[in-house]
Symmetry: none
Subunit: 224 residues, 4 copies
DNA sequence: TATGAATGAGTCTTCATTCAT
DNA sequence: CATGAATGAAGACTCATTCAT
């Protein structure tokens, strides 16, 4: 009896949701949330529409197509974040300064779009990720190279560890941020601790990047 | 559901593929490879079977259904790797020693199972990952806590940076390995460089964990 | 499960069949007819849809799945018949009167839904019948007990044979109706006679219930 | 973990079940039991084999085919019962005597093969029943006509109600037996009473056939 | 006799996509 | 803009059937 056979009513046309007007934005938001939670492949048009209180047909009205939906997510959401993170990079800044800035802006951006880290890990970094090639086209390689070059200069001056790969280190830095933010729920689940807040994670990563495991105190330094 | 006599036109039952015997192992291998490349959700039974030169029906013959297939992957493959990484952890070792061992064994294990990092990131760390709960059950929390405890002891003795979270650091360490190994193809694709080999990545991570960005030379140290 | 863009070659969505509007009702009718002829287990979604000039997918559109379809058949069709048969039963009527009314209304109902007897025998009375538990929930036991009680009163007054089981007799009565109506085609097939019409069967059953094999004695005849 | 992935062992050939030798008979028995419970359409070769402790392949070894299995069930089991019921019919006996004999032998036969009533109702009487045409070929129409003829003679002599159809009455008689025996579990389930035993059902039917609902008049009672 | 491996066909079900209204 | 109806193309899963061993 709990089972309810669907008896479709015969009354077309009257809109139901998106009372505030921007149905398209609602749909895009619903899409990003589901993508983060379930991954792109597992998210159906119907699910997105339902979450926004609309019908699957509306998805096609606004986005035409699965491909176009992904285009919209990347171009209207992810590209914006990327730009906000990398645009301010200044060629003349010190490498550590650059990196601190990038990390800070990334953390800030993710606080506005919490669905980013999960989606990034799943759909961009992973081989076969469904947003990968789209996102790749929006990456500001020139800016990234600016940072690598700064690191190399720092290594030449003896201010940065020579063992580090100057390109990989950019990945390490961003990857640590994404990974820790993306796995915060996992971490909480596994260790039965409360989810670490972004700020705490930021501090942890900064500390790690600055000095690695080694302490900076005189005591430790003297003991060596 | 209708069970009526059904005479096949073509003769079934003639073995065609996997003449070398262990069809099941072939299928499992095909599955892990596709899972790594496309993700679990996007990998169909048919695709796995085809890759092993068999029919979808054989997937059901050996694994019954999707759930059981995932069980098999976790229990027969991932759990083995996890055990090989964590079992040797010795409660009395120094924290850095412990962490070095874990990283080494993990890198070695991944060299035998290159599909691990991608799958781990996508299906274990990610919320909604399809192997997550299964893998969680096989994690040796006691061993992980051993490492955290060692880090805490190190911090108490002033040998390890106090700013680091002793539990998060385990995640950072393993996450760096997984992330760099998983994104090696991405890295190569983005920067048009050859894929970094696991050893190089290992050295990079070790260097980062030891000292962070700071160089270890006297010069740098003195300057402070 | 893989959700990749899929551009249909041929244009979907063009309504083709059941232009007269109530596709759902058509499907339900097709279902009951096939259930009666082949049994529930042997009736596929595809067969039902085809009979109504639609596609299997439409079955899922209207009924979600097999379970819900069966729910619909029982709740919207069988339950209605049952109610029409038993609701009018009056606690104060004489037992023979009650039974005559039930038989009459049942025969009348079956003339509107000729698929009932076959389905009832196969899917309700039979152990393992696929509608059994669903139908059971809709049976008006209180009304049935009213009849049994009336029979018992009749037996106490010596107006009804004491050898009869007052509950079984309700089954005998309904069973005779169902069985004779269900097996009318069988009967015709076996004896190469034309199918007996419901009225003829009704008279036969009434005669049998009244006096069994024995001819009406003078005494009884006079009493009338 | 409860989930057990099947790891087929590689050891062919050694029989497991049917220690007493007659595997074929075991399979046939398993088949009839499942047919009675679930119906023919819903019973798979695998299910039958499993119930007999054998593999589906053995079903084909012994019965070749689904069609041949049904042939075997009818020819080796049902036909035997039918013969035992009808063979003894004596052309010269009184109609009531004939019918009493048929009912008695049928009840006795069913006590040896309790799966008969359910299967008969589902697969023989019902249109589309999967054993129908096969069973039809084994029916002794001459014997059935003997009974009808006797009933007609009885009606001519005024010893049997003229309102009864002399052919239908044979159906009524056998149908009552089959139906009450087949629905005994249903009856018990519905009324929360213990399953009526065949003897009680036999008495009920005999009483009903003899006099219908009417109590035995003094005259009739005295005649006995 | 008996088994395990293998297969093709078919069933249920989901889904992206289209279109008339 | 929005909906409901409709469809074809898969995907998971089942099963009768076959064959080498």
């Amino acid at each position: 009896m709990a089972r309810t056979a669907r008896k479709p009513k015969r009354s077309p046309g009257r809109p139901v949701a998106s009372a505030d007007g921007d149905a398209r934005e609602h749909l895009l938001t619903a899409a990003t949330e589901l993508f983060a939670r379930q991954g792109v492949a597992a998210t159906t048009f119907a699910a997105i529409a339902k979450r926004a209180g609309l019908t699957p047909a509306m998805m096609h009205y606004y986005f035409k197509d699965r491909e176009h939906l992904l285009d919209s997510v990347v171009n209207e959401k992810i590209a914006t974040l990327i730009a906000s993170v990398w645009s301010p990079v200044d060629a003349n800044a010190a490498p550590e300064e650059m990196m601190r800035g990038v990390v800070e802006r990334l953390v800030a951006g993710i606080e506005r779009m919490p669905w980013i880290p999960s989606t990034w890990m799943r759909e961009v970094l992973n081989e076969g990720g469904l947003l990968r090639s789209r996102v790749l086209r929006t990456l500001p390689f020139d800016k990234v190279r600016l940072v690598s070059a700064a690191v190399e200069r720092g290594q030449a001056k003896g201010e940065i560890q020579a063992d580090l790969d100057p390109v990989l280190i950019v990945f390490s830095m961003l990857g640590l941020v994404m990974m820790h933010l993306a796995t915060a729920p996992f971490f909480a689940e596994v260790f039965h601790r409360k989810e670490p807040d972004p700020q705490a994670i930021g501090r942890h990563i900064t500390a790690l990047l600055r000095h690695g495991l080694k302490p900076t105190s005189n005591k430790a330094r003297n003991r060596k």
